[in-house]
Subunit: 96 residues, 2 copies
């Protein structure tokens, strides 16, 4: 069964545009990764500092490979100064 991920990233009020650009830059390279079924970046309609990735991966290995990818590794040091707290990344299985 495929794995689902919901990852929340909270920008600072003054860094929303920068965070949006940084997170957007992950979408195309991630969608090209082996085993990526869905990778969508969402922004909260009531709180523009609240970003969420909704993801689907074919296997654990594909998700682990994504987490270790060059584009994810490279974004960490650029995101840390402009976000609030660490990202809230949770992995799920489909119930129904």
């Amino acid at each position: 069964m495929s794995l689902r991920v919901v990852a929340r990233i909270k920008a600072r009020a003054e860094t929303v545009s920068e965070v949006r650009e940084l997170l957007s830059s992950l979408v195309e390279p991630t969608r090209k990764e082996f085993g990526c079924i869905t990778y969508e970046l969402l922004q909260n309609t009531e709180d523009p500092t609240d970003f969420t990735f909704v993801e689907e991966w074919e296997t654990d290995e594909a998700l682990a490979s994504h987490a270790a990818s060059d584009h994810i590794e490279a974004i960490g040091p650029r995101l840390r100064p402009v976000v609030v707290d660490a990202p809230d990344i949770r992995t799920y299985l489909l119930v129904k």
Copy 2:
């Protein structure tokens, strides 16, 4: 543009099976609603008390109609005693 929803529901440790059944019962009637594109129930792989709906709706009106539907209205009083806190329901637009 369609609307996305991520809704988190936290069961008590002793009510996971009951919450899973209650939430699962929403899936079929909701998918039949007008304007429902996606409605999926997920369960956290590391924390079985952590449930999430990932949803996509064609319009604001379709989402409002869902929130006022008989099956959502009816589930409230059955869920409240078996969950921790109110559901965390957030609405999003796709960035990319």
